[in-house]
Point group: C2
Chain length 227, copies 2
């Protein structure tokens, strides 16, 4: 439970690095992510870099060191394991898990996290479809891609979402799209990029491009053009 702030900074930096690939991570980006002001970030960066968790300069931005990355991955690991546990063992739904996990991720008791990981059967993905790194910090491989990059005829399985907001997750539940559901792509409207899906019950579901950009899928059609 010590160093909750360190945890949060390192996690935020890690996330930023991975979301905006190739772009560099700046103090202002971190400030926005953590809902604080840039000077606070600057100050903390000094402390974190003094402890060799990262380096920072204007040219290359903030770069996590090996140790810094390990800590961040560990926080993410704990977060996702808890989310999975809350979902599978305590009946929390898609949109409820995040908040509780946000606190639980800071509990550093190793035996505890090992135990619930084991009880869950060493899962590779959390209830949002996000990969759970193993104890060595290695993420599982998967051929996930954005729904919006799929083609007519793709046989899809929903493997994850990019946005975790309550409203988004609730919307998905409402239109009957849930993790591990299977769909085929019926039609893609050129005009606005919206997609018509067909589910197992032969019902049709219409999805806007905006939504399709936030859903991760795996295409199970052999040799599909989409890959």
């Amino acid at each position: 439970m010590n160093n909750i702030t360190d945890d949060n900074y390192l996690k935020a930096i890690y996330h930023l690095k991975n979301s905006e690939k190739n772009k560099l991570v700046t103090p202002t980006m971190v400030a926005n992510e953590l809902l604080i002001k840039p000077p606070s970030v600057l100050e903390k960066l000094k402390s974190l870099s003094a402890r060799k968790y990262l380096t920072y300069n204007k040219e290359s931005g903030i770069i996590l060191s090996k140790t810094g990355k390990e800590i961040a991955i560990n926080v993410i690991r704990r977060h996702r394991i808890w989310e999975t546990y809350l979902h599978k063992h305590l009946g929390f739904n898609w949109s409820e898990v995040h908040e509780a996990a946000e606190d639980l991720e800071h509990v550093r008791n190793e035996k505890l996290i090992d135990k619930i990981y084991e009880v869950l059967g060493n899962p590779e993905f959390d209830p949002h479809g996000d990969p759970i790194p193993n104890k060595q910090g290695v993420f599982p491989k998967s051929e996930r891609k954005l729904l919006s990059t799929s083609l007519v005829g793709c046989k899809l399985i929903i493997v994850g979402v990019i946005e975790h907001s309550d409203s988004f997750l609730k919307y998905l539940s409402e239109i009957n799209i849930n993790l591990n559901d299977k769909f085929s792509i019926q039609k893609i409207i050129e005009y606005d990029g919206s997609i018509q899906l067909k589910n197992k019950k032969n019902e049709f579901i219409q999805i806007s491009k905006l939504i399709a950009d936030k859903i991760m899928v795996r295409c199970e059609k052999v040799n599909c053009e989409c890959k």
Copy 2:
């Protein structure tokens, strides 16, 4: 997760009040309990009393207000529910539960604590035999008494321990005394107050007065003199 320090102060004060009944709670006692120095306590007391969680003056010592007591009981409730959960659902033993619970007790997600309490079947006692207050803050009744106040012939069931230290709990396990075990009292040595117990397998276990002072029991012999 906010106000972890407030939680810890209020919990410490509550515990002190209840352990040293009738005695008044002083700043130095709190400092010792929390492993900090008296001036830190004095300072915090100002803040807590400004927020009406307690009152303090030299004559009556530190006295929790209704709200203060509620918060303390809630922390204790969360702690004991987690301990029970770790023990029953995650296979932690007697001496392992405390440390993890010390962090988990600060996670304030109500749905989470309600859920695990429910999954456990609304238990009334934790793995150390300590009572778990219900959601309204009411502790369950029980006729527990110290083993050291028992008499020859008592038919006892172990319902709790007063000390939670690792070494103590490990010792009890080693000499084969565990929660809910049943014993009868075979002999009491006047000279040093040590007690000879007989277990269900007719094995004898010798216990010093010091140990007997830290074990809570319930006597199941009808109309026993010990009450």
